[in-house]
């Protein structure tokens, strides 16, 4: 079955520290991959997406993600976290031949001042 797994439910980092949020996917072929952020009281916002080509993808707010086919991973990174980055982050996949986007369970990020 097609699935997206985010192994970390909750991560806490200090402001200014680096961040990596993990995402693994299980699809028959390379899916389209996305990261979205959901802040309290706000809708889901697209951070970045991967369709094909360059495996290092740049997004908004200083985020980037790297697609690694050998590890079936699409991890999200940021070199220096700001307090405003505290939110819930979702990794999504869309398989070939499907219009359905499958969400991971999300990773809640807390930032310590």
């Amino acid at each position: 079955a097609q699935s997206v797994t985010q192994p970390d439910i909750h991560i806490t980092v200090s402001e200014g520290a680096s961040l990596e949020l993990r995402c693994n996917y299980s699809y028959g072929a390379t899916p389209y991959l996305f990261w979205y952020v959901q802040s309290p009281g706000q809708g889901l916002q697209l951070l970045l997406k991967y369709f094909s080509g360059d495996t290092l993808v740049q997004g908004i707010k200083g985020f980037e993600a790297e697609f690694k086919r050998s590890q079936s991973s699409f991890n999200l990174r940021k070199p220096s976290v700001h307090w405003s980055d505290a939110a819930e982050y979702f990794c999504l996949g869309q398989g070939a031949g499907s219009y359905q986007l499958t969400f991971g369970k999300g990773t809640k990020l807390s930032v310590i001042p």
Binding site: Y32, Y36, K49, F51, A96, S98, T102
Partner: protein, 116 residues
């Protein structure tokens, strides 16, 4: 440029009742998807509408139905409400012209349904 708008933002129903949620897509988008997000969970795909027809459906019972109108707006209907239907219902629109088949979704803020 207005994004995706949903109404109502909050509503309370009792078991067995029926509910209708509404969604207006972002300008220029013609495809609407609906998701259910239970508390503390990731959103689950309900269905997607394109050209006024249900194009794909997730693993939800027939109590969940929808409609898309000629102006691309959409409704989600849930009949015979259960306590477990309490959730945030998210509408998202997309333009299939972006990246081919890939759905680059713009989400609304959601309609929070509480079933008592």
């Amino acid at each position: 440029d207005a994004g995706v708008t949903q109404s109502p933002t909050h509503l309370i129903k009792t078991r067995g009742q029926q509910v209708t949620l509404r969604c207006s897509p972002k300008s220029g988008h013609d495809t609407v998807s609906w998701y259910q997000q239970a508390l503390g969970q990731g959103p689950q795909f309900i269905f997607q509408y394109y050209e006024e027809e249900e194009r794909q459906r997730g693993n939800f019972p027939d109590r969940f139905s929808g409609h898309q109108f000629p102006n691309y707006s959409s409704e989600l209907n849930v009949n015979a409400l259960l306590l477990g239907d309490s959730a945030l219902y998210l509408c998202a629109s997309s333009d299939p012209g972006q990246g081919g088949r890939a759905n680059v979704l713009t989400f609304g803020a959601g309609s929070r349904l509480t079933v008592l």
